[in-house]
Every structure is written in structure tokens, then in C-alpha cells.
Amino acid sequence: AQTVTQSQPEMSVQEAETVTLSCTYDTSESDYYLFWYKQPPSRQMILVIRQEAYKQQNATENRFSVNFQKAAKSFSLKISDSQLGDAAMYFCAYTRSGSRLTFGEGTQLTVNP
């Protein structure tokens, strides 16, 4: 079974600085998809960024980028120029085919002004 591990239960960053959230996963598949989802307090979870395993290029979305290391099964999220609105729980997720997402346990990000 696929597992997703987020080893940092909590992280904090100063506003305008950069923070990296870690994620590792376990799979025997060669084709799959990885995601970072953001869940602000009392608000719905939203997709931040998506990476296809067959693509060597790391995905980027404005201030959000990933470091995808397929051989190491590592998928970290870098948030640049952190803003107060980035404060949330961040979940790393994996799917082989899109039919079922497996989520990690989450990293609570605090942004300090």
C-alpha cells in the first residue's frame, strides 16, 4: 500500500521569508501524481500544486514550487516570500490514477509577522 509521510508536524516562518515543507512517499509504481493541498483554518482544502511523476521538471505555481526527487521518493514544497495568508495545514498527497488520494498527516505552517 502506498504511504505518505510528513515528518514535520509544525513549521514556522517569518513573513517574506522562504520555508520548505518535507514529504516522502512509498510506492512501487513508476507513474503517479503528487500534490500539495492547503487547508486554512475552518476553510476548505484547496490544491496548491501538482506534479506528474513522468515529468522531470519541477512544478511551480507563483510563489510555490516543488523539489521532486523520484529516486529518493521525496516531494518537498517551497514557499517563497511567505505571506500571512499562507498560514494553514499543508497536506502532501499521492495517487496512482486519480481514483484515490492518499494523504499525509499534514504540516501546520505558522507565518509570523
Binding site: 476548505q44 482544502m45 490514477s97 486519480g98 484515490r100 488520494l101 494523504f103
Partner: protein, 115 residues
């Protein structure tokens, strides 16, 4: 575009009572999911629908949980009878499907407290 709508947002019941949650997905999204999120954990899939068909319900505790998606649009998740361990946030999500693999649109969730 209206998002995924869930109700109620909060529900407090005593154990052994029944409870139901409702979800209206984004219009045109054929795939609907129910996830359960325990405190401090990531969501776990309970059931997935493709239109009105439940195609993955392997994680649904069928002795007390049931779900339906009549006409392939909105959906209801029911728990009867509720147990203390059912306290969690129940998330509904929908997906446009093909071409956007793994991109789920979530509702705000229904927080259940069982006393």
C-alpha cells in the same frame, strides 16, 4: 462557479443516535468523494462515486455507514448508530475527472461531535 456545498457545518449528537450529511458537488463534476478527517490527521477516503455508482467503498464501515448519490448529483452520507469514535470532520469533494487527475474540489466539511 459555485463550490462544493455541505451541510450541516456542525453537528453534535449523543452516541447511538443517527446523523446524516449532505453534499452538493460542483455542477458537471461526475466524481464525488466522501472523506473522513480525524483531528490532526489527513483525510481518508470513505467512498467514491462515478455518477450514481459507488465504485470504491472498500473503506466504508458498512455496518453503520451508508451513502447514496441519487441521480448522480448530490449525495448523502449517513451514520446509524453513531459511536464516540465517529467524531471527525466529514469532507465531501468532487472532481471533473479526465485531464485533471487528482484535482479535488473540497467542501468546508461537516464537523461531527459524538458525546
Amino acid at each position: 462557479e459555485a463550490g462544493v456545498v455541505q451541510s450541516p457545518r456542525y453537528k453534535i449528537i449523543e452516541k447511538k443516535q443517527p446523523v446524516a450529511f449532505w453534499c452538493n458537488p460542483i455542477s458537471g463534476h461526475n466524481t464525488l468523494y466522501w472523506y473522513r478527517q480525524n483531528l490532526g490527521q489527513g483525510p481518508e477516503l470513505l467512498i467514491r462515486y462515478e455518477n450514481e455508482e459507488a465504485v470504491d467503498d472498500s473503506q466504508l464501515p458498512k455496518d453503520r455507514f451508508s451513502a447514496e448519490r441519487l441521480k448522480g448529483v448530490d449525495s448523502t452520507l449517513k451514520i446509524q448508530p453513531a459511536e464516540l469514535g465517529d467524531s471527525a470532520v466529514y469532507l465531501c469533494a468532487s472532481s471533473p475527472g479526465v485531464g485533471r487527475t487528482g484535482e479535488l474540489f473540497f467542501g468546508e466539511g461537516s464537523r461531527l461531535t459524538v458525546l
